[in-house]
Symmetry: C2
């Protein structure tokens, strides 16, 4: 990290002292920014934006021009791996991602293979290299992937789902076929994250958007176990062992202890769990990232500051907190409100770090 | 209950011994049944079905003809109270409920008043009386309402919401105005449930669909406290004190202790919490209703039986379990699969009740 001008984010992830709590925002490069919407319009569609490294780099950097964020996150999508497997990812406005060729049976699943990141996801790695060069050490760059369970959900359902009828039929009726798919996806995500790290990302995050629709036992087997396999493989490789891994399952308040025991470095938290409670339960094992209600950004600036103060007070003094929302920023948020949040985190957190920072 | 031929459900709610675990299903009168779809088509639209006591009665009884269910639940909607307040409830296919005249500011909220159930919700009470007569003591009848927070959410958003921007802006920026609205709704729900009980319902359930989108502190103030107020008022009135009250907040696994301390008789559980854990935490205070993953009904019959067996085993021996799904039954479920579930609950639960039943 010697060339890094702002290492608050990486220090917080390894629970070292910082001068102020670092902050970044899920989906910080996104639709709430008019300059993002302009590039998106220029690109024509979402996947062109993802697959054109210059454009992906441009929108990755946009929020850093406006806000004093402590990390950049690569602009990409959680579903790039199934796209590279040949499922054909597209986006419908309003309805979200949709695959042209979903996989719905054992035969289709067995025809899939682990993508070679340099060959089939080269556009992501090119974007990483470009962003690192453009960032020039200003802040660290985060890479990411969807979790195996979340990828499987979209691959089998074909897109967003309310009832999860197809993936759950597979889970209930042919659990070992689902295990096969998840094993393939764990290996694919591992290779993909290793390639992102080799290209330059300085931390990785695994987004498990849909782990929270599972029973406790199904979560263990079908969501957590595949994520544990990825963490284990990353930590076993000297090339990637030191890169912090953040796990985020939405709706996982009940399972934090199990998540913390995977060997990951940090947990992302949604806003349905108190940060004080989360710290009490797992704060001695992992750093914690979160967890302001994303809707807080609809409030008046003085209320936003008060809510930031409350989250900081819940975490309290000591190390290991990265400020974030509990979910991605909404597209109809006023960007000025995010500026209020970012500045409030830095300003109001300094007193909590005095005893460590000297 | 002397004239009740099947009192398993009421006995389980008061944690008395039963010969087999009672079962009913949220939305058991609904779109997955072809005979329901036929009546709905005859009625023309959903609200006509709700507001015509003969039709509401007919669809309430339909699932009892097919399945050996241990309770009937009145066919109605959780949003009848705001409709009676003049907001104009309608339903759009695919998008769910929508109010013609949402309330969005303090002035609009202060113009609202508590509906008189006999005057403005007479169609619900007529349906209750009709169903009780037609049931003739076969099984008990459940009445219900949406929770104040859930009603407020729809009233302010105007319909279903993903980001809850309007209700949360109100919550953050004008919390005391939201408190006023919730107070009005608590009083309205209390009167409404008292009127349903006077008309003949033998248990009541409060559906808090959206409590799970709140932080722990906001849940306490804006969802749980208004529900506690309803329970307290029902339990303070000799006319309603003995009628069991079931509280159900989707996504409330972390807050079961607080819910159990409201004075309610039972908690409805979603499938994200283990029934064994829930029983350990609150089973000495309240009965538990749930909690099979609704998607289990997509599985093969033998898997459905195995999953029913697992839920029964999680609860174990002893009293105080009402079997249900963890959420409403999905519209694309095969009704024959529900028959498998209901029969499996009765058959497989008998061994757990032998020591009590003699």
């Amino acid at each position: 990290m010697s060339d890094l001008k702002n290492d608050r984010f990486l220090r917080a992830l390894s629970r070292q002292s910082v001068d102020a709590t670092p902050v970044w925002i899920m989906r910080q490069a996104g639709r709430y920014l008019p300059e993002y919407r302009a590039v998106r319009a220029r690109a024509g569609d979402f996947m062109t934006l993802c697959k054109t490294p210059e454009l992906a780099c441009e929108v990755t950097l946009q929020p850093l021009e406006r806000f004093a964020l402590d990390a950049a996150i690569l602009f990409s999508d959680i579903l790039t791996i199934p796209d590279a497997m040949g499922l054909g990812l597209g986006f419908t406005d309003g309805e979200g991602p949709a695959f042209e060729r979903p996989v719905r049976d054992a035969a289709a699943i067995r025809r899939l293979s682990v993508p070679d990141p340099e060959q089939e996801l080269g556009y992501v790695l090119d974007a990483v290299r470009l962003v690192r060069r453009e960032l020039d050490g200003r802040v660290p760059l985060i890479g990411f992937s969807g979790s195996p369970w979340t990828l499987a959900t979209y691959m089998v359902e074909g897109g967003s789902s309310k009832g999860f009828s197809r993936i759950k039929s597979l889970l209930f009726d042919q659990p070992s076929v689902l295990d096969e798919l998840l094993k393939l996806l764990s290996d694919s995500v591992t290779l993909y994250l290793k390639a992102q790290i080799a290209a330059g990302v300085q931390a990785v995050m695994i987004f498990d958007t849909w782990g929270g629709v599972l029973t406790p036992a199904d979560y263990q087997r079908f969501s957590l176990q595949p994520m544990r396999s990825i963490v284990t493989q990353l930590k076993a490789d000297p090339e990637t062992a030191k890169v912090p891994v953040i796990l985020f399952t939405k709706g996982a308040g009940a399972w934090l202890e199990d998540m913390a025991q995977t060997g990951c470095d940090a947990l992302g938290l949604d806003w349905m769990i108190g940060l004080d409670e989360a710290r009490r339960r797992v704060g001695s094992q992992v750093a914690l990232q979160g967890n302001l209600d994303p809707a807080a950004l609809y409030a008046r600036p003085e209320r936003i500051r008060a809510m930031v103060a409350d989250i900081l007070e819940q975490f309290g003094t000591g190390n290991g907190h990265v400020f974030n929302l509990g979910h991605g920023i909404s597209k109809d948020v006023n960007p000025d409100h995010l500026a209020v949040l970012v500045d409030a985190v830095h300003e109001l957190s300094r007193p909590y770090h005095r005893s460590d920072g000297g």
